[in-house]
């Protein structure tokens, strides 16, 4: 099984259940499907329910019902798992794809303690990964070359280092027009880099083959700072304390917001009006900020209106009023209720089923909650008037 960053996908999932943190899994009910593609990949299903976690390998093509599905290649999966690849960047660049409920993904680091690969020697792949940080631009001035690394065996692979204008770009695979190509077993490559194998011996024994422009091959050792194995592959343990801090609050409405919220109970939306400029505020605020005077008069507006903008949010984040993660996607909109003008809009949710049908200018109406308490939730959402 292919190994990346000193670990295999198999090993990550084998240890998954042992890394489960039941104390943080209360109330979590989810099935996460992992489709790990490419060499060293496979399919797994992790079920978290009743404060227990069960990890199973999926043999057929069907995952069954899942809450969330994560698709990525084995290298990225392990890289993110062990912290060698930035998860956000991998998601940003599209190497990790997520279907279904995003909030579970945000929860995973809390549900399982971090995976640590079995401590073992460094792999050829690990050393290749250090190329960018060891690259010496000053030594590459005027050099325009594609250098191949054909490293066979476990922990190996094929790479091309493209050096141009003092910059290095690493590519997977061997380029077509290599300036220099080096073929060596992955294990031997590691030994060469660690100084355990003499390059001349390796060439003499035919274990290392260098082809192409030998003038360029000669400058190769200068292009990179010496590889220095870290004495301890993992640094010292660094302590982290995880906690959801929660402080109970009593938010006063005051008379202005209070009046507005009271109106919602009776299925009425009240704006307050600036006595000076006449603008209407939703929800009402104590003063008109522009005219700096109290806005005392209330007028009923809406309840129907027109969407001024539609924002569909795909990013799962916690609700600071409860600490719970929100379900995505959801849509909010600034709605120009009947009786309002210009920017006098009203901020609320759009019905989930209408999300992809509505657009700027769509006419909408509120859907009222059955029981209303005088809160933002008295309106469930706005739906399209069809």
């Amino acid at each position: 099984m292919a190994e990346f960053f000193g670990a295999t996908v198999e090993d990550v999932f084998k240890t998954q259940d042992a890394r489960f943190r039941a104390e943080d899994a209360k109330g979590v009910d989810a099935v996460v499907a992992y489709d790990i593609t490419g060499e060293g990949g496979g399919r797994w299903r992790v079920t978290v329910r009743d404060s227990r976690a069960v990890t199973e390998k999926v043999t057929g093509s069907d995952f069954g019902a899942f809450t969330t599905k994560i698709t990525t290649d084995a290298e990225t999966f392990i890289g993110v798992t062990v912290g060698k690849i930035d998860g956000t960047a991998a998601f940003t660049s599209g190497r990790v794809k997520i279907e279904g409920d995003m909030k579970i993904v945000a929860l995973l680091p809390r549900l399982f303690t971090k995976y640590s690969p079995p401590s073992r020697g460094v792999s050829a792949r690990d050393i290749i990964a250090t190329f960018p940080e060891r690259f010496r631009p000053e030594a590459a001035k005027g050099l325009d070359a594609a250098i191949g690394y054909n490293l066979a065996g476990e922990g190996g692979g094929q790479w091309t280092a493209v050096v141009k204008d003092g910059r290095l770009e690493m590519r997977e695979g061997l380029a077509e027009n290599l300036t220099v190509n080096q073929t060596v077993g992955a294990r031997d490559y590691v030994d060469l880099m660690l100084g355990k194998l003499d390059p001349m011996v390796a060439i003499g024994a035919g274990r290392l083959r260098i082809t192409g422009d030998m003038e360029v091959a000669k400058v190769l050792p200068k292009l990179f700072r010496k590889y220095e194995p870290k004495e301890v592959e993992r640094g010292p343990e660094l302590i982290v304390l995880k906690k959801t801090i929660s402080v109970g609050m009593r938010f006063s409405t005051g008379p202005v917001m209070g009046r507005f919220l009271e109106g919602l109970k009776g299925r009425k939306i009240f704006a307050n009006v600036c006595p000076s400029c006449g603008r209407r505020q939703l929800p009402p605020r104590e003063v008109c900020a522009v005219c700096r005077c109290r806005a005392g008069e209330f007028v009923e507006v809406g309840p129907e209106g027109v969407l001024v903008n539609v924002e569909i949010c795909y990013y799962a984040s916690p609700d600071p009023l409860t600490g719970e993660t929100r379900e995505t996607p959801y849509g909010t909109s600034n709605i120009l209720l009947d009786g309002c003008r210009g920017t006098e809009t009203f901020w609320h949710y759009i019905k989930r089923e209408d999300l992809f049908d509505v657009k700027r200018g769509s006419r909408v109406r509120p859907v009222w909650a059955e029981s209303r308490t005088g809160s933002v939730h008295d309106i469930k959402y706005f739906e399209m008037v069809r």
């Binding site: 809390r110 010292p236 343990e237 660094l238 302590i239 982290v240 304390l241 995880k242 906690k243 959801t244 801090i245 929660s246 402080v247 109970g248 609050m249 009593r250 938010f251 006063s252 409405t253 005051g254 008379p255 209070g258 009046r259 919220l261 009271e262 916690p318 600071p320 009023l321 409860t322 600490g323 005088g374 809160s375």
Partner: protein
């Protein structure tokens, strides 16, 4: 803690002027993860795995601090490698008895919070004292650290101090 006059809710009877005013229960609730850093981690791991209390010494002013810190706030010298092992016993130099009930407190009241100067340290450290009735705690009392069975990765890896 309302003993000092915070009588909440009592005015929330019908009041003409405040007819529309109400109070909505909510929370300030968000997830956090705090990092102890290298210096703090070494201190906590030493408590957790070695049952040993470490301090740091500032060579410039000669003081030994606990809890540890990376920098001497006065001399601005780097203390991150200046570890000294401290005794797990020390002397109570100051204490209070917490008698109010709040959710942030680690114990049911009443419990004793003390400043304890460990042998080998110059600065006393705050901690909980148990195994003695609050009314019998005295300044100058010798106490010993009792380490926690289960780690919480913080200062409570010393569960409490108790009289020697």
């Amino acid at each position: 803690m309302d003993a000092t006059g915070g009588k909440r809710g009592e005015q929330q009877t019908a009041d003409e002027e405040h007819a529309c005013c109400k109070v909505v229960e909510g929370k300030l609730a968000l997830p956090y993860q705090y990092f102890a850093g290298r210096v703090g981690s070494r201190f906590i791991i030493s408590l957790r795995d070695g049952k040993r209390i470490l301090g740091v010494r500032c060579d410039a002013c000669g003081r030994v601090f606990v809890p540890p810190r990376q920098t001497c706030e006065r001399c601005f010298s780097d203390l991150s490698e200046k570890w000294v092992e401290l005794s797990d016993t020390g002397e109570i130099v100051n204490f209070t008895v917490v008698r109010y009930e709040d959710r942030h407190l680690p114990r049911k009241p009443p419990f004793v919070l003390a400043l304890i100067r460990l042998r080998g340290a110059d600065t006393p450290m705050a901690h909980i004292v148990e195994g003695v009735a609050p009314e019998n705690v005295r300044i100058g009392m010798n106490v010993r650290a009792v380490f926690a069975d289960k780690t919480t990765n913080c200062i409570l890896d010393i569960d409490h101090f108790e009289p020697v």
